[in-house]
C-alpha cells in the first residue's frame, strides 16, 4: 500500500511560523517511514527533514494543488487561500492560526477566520491548545478524494463582472 501523504503548508507569508514546524517535527510520525510528508515552510527555517518526504520553502500554486489533492491529512496555517483549497478538495485538516503574540503575523486575523470554520473534517488548534498526537490508522482510514468541488460564489462573480464591464 502506498504511504499516506501528510501535507504541511504555511502559505506565502513573510513571517516565520516556527511553532507549527515544532509541532510537526515533534510528532512521532514525522520520523515514521510509514508516512510520506511534504512540508511547505514559507520563511520558517526547517532543521529536520522527515523520514520520508520533502521540505520546501515555496512551490508553484499548481504543485500545491496537486499535493492537496493527493494528501490524506493537511496541517495548515489559517490563511484564506489554504482554507479555499482544503474546502475545494474536501480534506481533513488541522488548522493552526498564526498569532501576533508569537510574531507569526502582524495581527490576529487568522483567529477570526478560524472562528468561522465550521466543518466536521476541520479542526483548529488554538495557541493555548496542545497539538493533537497524529494517529496513523486514522490517517489511513480517511478517503483521499481527488475530485475538486467548485466552491466559487458565482453570484458575487456576476456582480463583480457587472461593476467592471457594465
Amino acid at each position: 500500500m502506498a504511504r499516506p501523504l501528510i501535507l504541511v503548508t504555511m502559505g506565502t507569508n513573510e513571517y516565520p511560523f516556527n511553532r507549527l514546524y515544532n509541532y510537526i517535527k515533534n510528532d512521532p510520525l514525522y520520523l515514521d517511514e510509514r508516512c510520506e510528508w511534504f512540508v511547505q515552510t514559507g520563511s520558517c527555517e526547517a532543521d529536520t527533514t522527515p523520514a520520508i518526504g520533502v521540505v520546501e520553502t515555496l512551490i508553484p500554486r499548481s504543485d500545491m494543488e496537486d499535493l492537496v489533492r493527493r494528501s490524506a491529512l493537511v496541517i495548515s496555517h489559517c490563511g484564506i487561500g489554504s482554507l479555499n483549497l482544503m474546502l475545494k478538495y474536501r480534506k481533513r485538516v488541522i488548522f493552526v492560526p498564526r498569532v501576533a503574540s508569537h510574531k507569526e503575523f502582524s495581527d490576529d486575523h487568522q483567529l477570526q477566520i478560524a472562528a468561522e470554520i465550521k466543518n466536521k473534517k476541520m479542526q483548529v488548534v488554538y495557541p493555548s491548545d496542545e497539538f493533537p498526537k497524529l494517529n496513523f490508522d486514522q490517517i489511513c482510514a480517511d478517503n483521499v478524494l481527488s475530485e475538486p468541488v467548485d466552491i466559487t460564489n458565482y453570484d458575487l462573480a456576476r456582480i463583480v463582472n457587472l461593476k467592471l464591464t457594465g
Binding site: 487561500g81 473534517k121 460564489n153 458575487l156 463582472n161
Partner: protein, 158 residues
C-alpha cells in the same frame, strides 16, 4: 495597434489572489494580473506583472507608484479590480487620478474590521465600488455586501 479591452487585477499571492480569481471568474474581458510573487503556471491571465510587496516601507510604496504608472500606461485597462493587499494602493491612487474605474473587494480574511488597505481606500474614497465580504463589517463601514468570493459552508464534506 488595436487591442482587446482588459481588466487589470491586483492581488498579492496566496489568499488575496485566490479570492480575486474567484471574483473575476465570469469577467468577459481579458485579464492582466499584478502580483508580488508569481507562483502561477497556467492561469486565466494573459499577462502577469510582479511588483514588490510591503506593509509599511514608504520607499517601496513610492517606488511602486512608478511601477504602477508604467503598468497602467502599458496596459491601459478598461477597469481595475483588487482584493488587496498593500500593492493595490498606488493603483488605487492612480485610478482615481486617471478616472479609471476601480472596484475593490476587501479580503475575506478580515472578519470584524476592514484590512488596512481597505481602510485607506475607504477613507480617501479611492474606489468606484467598495465591497466587503462580511455583512456586519460592511454595514459598519458603509460598504456593499454581496456575499463571499467562495463558499465557506460544508460543501458535502462528510
Amino acid at each position: 495597434m488595436k487591442r482587446n479591452p482588459t481588466v487589470l487585477v491586483i492581488a498579492s499571492s496566496g489568499g488575496h489572489l485566490t479570492q480575486a480569481m474567484c471574483a473575476t471568474s465570469t469577467v468577459e474581458l481579458e485579464l492582466v494580473l499584478v502580483t508580488n510573487k508569481n507562483m502561477l503556471e497556467d492561469s486565466p491571465f494573459i499577462r502577469i506583472h510582479t511588483i514588490r510587496d510591503t506593509q509599511t516601507n514608504i520607499l517601496i510604496h513610492a517606488m511602486n507608484v512608478f511601477s504602477a504608472a508604467r503598468i497602467l500606461l502599458k496596459e491601459r485597462p478598461r477597469a481595475i479590480f483588487s482584493t488587496g493587499g498593500p500593492i493595490c494602493l498606488p493603483f488605487a491612487l492612480l485610478a482615481r487620478l486617471s478616472g479609471t474605474r476601480f472596484v475593490y473587494l476587501d479580503t475575506l480574511s478580515r472578519v470584524t474590521e476592514l484590512s488596512n488597505s481597505g481602510k485607506f481606500i475607504r477613507k480617501f474614497r479611492l474606489s468606484d465600488s467598495f465591497l466587503c465580504q462580511w455583512q456586519e463589517t460592511a454595514e459598519k463601514y458603509g460598504a456593499e455586501y454581496h456575499g463571499q468570493a467562495f463558499n465557506l459552508g460544508d460543501n458535502g464534506h462528510q
